[in-house]
């Protein structure tokens, strides 16, 4: 009955089945909505955050999705500015994923701050020296860009497209997309960076503090690099997932390979810098604070193993996998590589947030532990529910994959 909305020449499952599929994700959303309501109504005492864990699971989620969402701007960059033709087949889904990640992150931040209604003070009373200000400005602006990029895709819906105004608008928008893409790239670079900067500048927190260039600590650049290294991998994963679920080939393999290759190279270079940075930190920052590297791991569950995982297991290994053509052409390895790549980046964000705050700085201070409440989980997971729904709807009603019809001819 919703067939009129479904793109021409492609096959979609029955509406009933589709609705059934959306149920669990709607469930997650409902859970999230309840949690959000409680946090806004009763305040953040609904969480398990404390004066020690001022940032918690939400921030980890924020940082992660924003890093992974980097696939959007980076693919846009490659497509519109470098002009990698093959990526045109995947740019739409990239934009959608980017949109999901960023809108989700912004929503979470809105709940995370104690006075959401005053959120706009960041802009109005901006303190330009704060990395967080930079983050907020760039993310908001970039979200606008993402919406602009998303609009033509929506307008391409069969029914909407019949409206000439929409059709024209969409087309015209599409024509100058390069301009927006370029702006987006600029903005993204900065907020990815300043997200890293947020931690690197905390000079009284030796675990996070880093030296740097001018006002930007090394983490600033590492975050950009790690984001664009993992973004494409995440994009590959998501698309492969969609393909798996729809049991269709939606994007030519070439696109995947290009992304994988790039992802691999970036990850490799990121790893080199990351290792250099870590050594510089161990022999520079930490001793200056009167500590030794191992002091950080004297108590609590967090140990050196975290760093080993982050750098070796989920850093170097996936880089190698993605760099070896034979390996990345093999589906299994490709997925593994991308998966490990993303895990590594998430781990990095986790360490920089949670572990930084968990490790006491004052010698007579004590290690405190933290576990999220169901409200915190609710809001975090809602992000996933939201994502799946948006992708599903877009996939069902929008021509997300230009090559789909051609790759899957509908048998009359």
């Amino acid at each position: 009955m919703d067939s009129v909305l479904i793109p021409a020449g492609v096959k979609r499952c029955s509406l009933k089945l589709f609705l059934l599929w959306t149920l669990p994700w709607l469930g997650l959303l409902a859970w999230g909505a309840l949690s959000a309501f409680l946090c806004l109504w009763k305040g953040l005492n609904q969480t398990n955050m404390t004066n020690y864990f001022a940032f918690a699971v939400w921030i980890v989620f924020d940082l992660s999705v924003i890093a992974l969402g980097a696939g959007a701007f980076f693919t846009g960059f490659l497509t519109y500015i470098i002009g990698k033709k093959e990526l045109k087949d995947i740019i739409n889904i990239a934009v959608i994923i980017g949109f999901i990640c960023y809108s989700g992150a912004v929503a979470m931040l809105g709940i995370d701050i104690g006075q959401p209604i005053r959120g706009w003070f960041i802009f109005w009373h901006a303190n330009v020296h704060s990395m967080l200000t930079e983050v907020s400005f760039c993310i908001t602006c970039y979200l606008v860009v993402l919406i602009i990029e998303y609009v033509p895709i929506i307008l391409a819906n069969r029914k909407l497209d019949e409206v000439p105004d929409f059709h024209l608008f969409g087309n015209n928008l599409h024509r100058i997309m390069a301009v927006f893409a370029a702006t987006g790239v600029f903005l993204s670079f900065f907020h990815q960076g300043s997200l890293g900067g947020m931690y690197g500048v905390m000079y009284a927190r030796p675990f996070a503090f880093r030296e740097g260039f001018y006002v930007w600590p090394w983490t600033f650049f590492l975050f950009i690099l790690s984001a664009i290294a993992s973004g494409p991998s995440f994009l590959i994963l998501c698309t492969k997932l969609v393909q798996g679920i729809t049991r269709k080939k939606l994007v030519p393999e070439k696109a995947f390979q290009t992304l994988a290759k790039i992802s691999g190279w970036l990850l490799a270079s990121y790893m080199i810098l990351k290792i250099a940075d870590t050594l510089g930190w161990i022999y520079g920052v930490i001793p200056k604070a009167g500590m030794t590297f191992m002091d950080f791991f004297s108590e609590g569950p967090y140990g050196v193993w975290l760093l080993i995982c982050e750098i070796i297991i989920f850093g170097i290994i996936p880089a190698v996998i993605l760099l070896i053509p034979k390996a990345r052409q093999h589906q299994g390895w490709l997925i593994t590589g991308c998966l490990m790549n993303c895990t590594g980046i998430v781990l990095n964000r986790f360490v920089l947030t949670i572990v930084t705050l968990a490790i006491p700085v004052m010698p007579f201070d004590k290690f405190v532990s933290y576990l999220p409440t169901w409200q915190e989980w609710g809001i975090s997971l809602a992000l996933i529910g939201f994502g799946v729904l948006v992708v599903s709807l877009s996939y069902r009603y929008l021509p997300v994959f230009p090559k789909e019809a051609e790759l899957n001819p509908v048998a009359e």
Partner: protein, 273 residues
């Protein structure tokens, strides 16, 4: 971009003599009472309770009967020059005034992002996880001082060196036609309340003031000095183990102050039990 403080006129600071400190907690109560800090029915959740001035209990880690405890009263350090919390606040809700050295917090401006809490290694900043606890009909709001505005849920608060007392003292001086404050005219509630006179408060820039003398004592030190936060709260202790507790030291890096201190430090306990 990084303004130094030295051009600043005054530089208010605190010196806490840990040999005199008895750990009685009057400073904490005085602070809470002076600054309308909310008290909740359960204050035992120390990670969430609000205390501008907080007592840390430390011990020398020895076994009975050689164990020895001491205390660190910890207000906001009012880090000088470039406090870790000030530069990170996105909404300019916290500032350092280079004419007094006081790091302020504007509650009505704070959006509650808690970045400053993450940036502060002293845990001097606390977040209002709840609205202040002043139930209707209980009457506890009757002792609230109009000089300090009660905070709303969702904002960060911290020690202000009793800034309103500075205002009070200035008004007084102005009424008496004076431009400058005399020593002792402006002191924090904790310094005034301390029954052992362990806390002194004054202008570190003024060589005449007790604090600037004490801060130059060989026994004077600050917490986490190495991080370069440059606190304006100094501590005095003749006990080396206490001084060693105040900062992180690489093996062999810590230097006992002097023979004098070493002997003063020696505490004998007679075996019992």
């Amino acid at each position: 971009m990084k303004k130094g403080h030295d051009q600043g006129k005054h530089k208010y600071g605190m010196v806490i003599d840990l040999d005199k400190c008895t750990g009685c907690g009057t400073c904490m109560v005085a602070c809470a009472a002076e600054n309308n800090v909310s008290v909740r029915p359960d204050e035992s959740d120390k990670q969430r309770s609000i205390a501008w001035m907080l007592l840390y209990k430390i011990d020398n880690g020895k076994e009975f009967p050689d164990t020895e405890t001491s205390y660190f009263p910890r207000p906001c350090m009012h880090c000088d020059d470039n406090p870790p919390c000030v530069s990170v606040c996105p909404a300019t809700a916290t500032k350092i005034d280079y004419n007094t050295g006081i790091v302020s917090q504007i509650y009505t401006r704070c959006i509650g992002c808690r970045y400053c809490i993450a940036a502060c290694p002293y845990h001097a900043r606390t977040f209002n996880w709840w609205d202040g606890y002043f139930p209707k009909g209980k009457g506890l709001d009757r002792y609230l001082s109009p000089e300090v505005s009660p905070r709303m849920r969702g904002v960060v608060e911290k020690c202000s060196f009793c800034h309103h007392r500075l205002m009070r003292a200035k008004d007084q001086a102005y009424a008496e036609g004076r431009k400058e404050l005399k020593e002792g005219e402006y002191i924090t509630a904790c310094a005034e309340a301390c029954p052992a006179q362990a806390i002194s408060f004054g202008d570190l820039n003024n060589p005449g003031h007790k604090v600037s003398r004490l801060s130059k004592s060989p026994f004077a030190f600050r917490i986490l000095e190495k991080l370069g936060t440059n606190p304006k709260v100094y501590y005095l202790s003749t006990k080396d183990w206490v001084r060693k507790m105040a900062d992180n030291y690489l093996p062999g890096e810590f230097k006992p102050v002097s023979k004098a201190s070493a002997s003063a430090d020696k505490k004998t306990t007679l075996q019992g039990g």
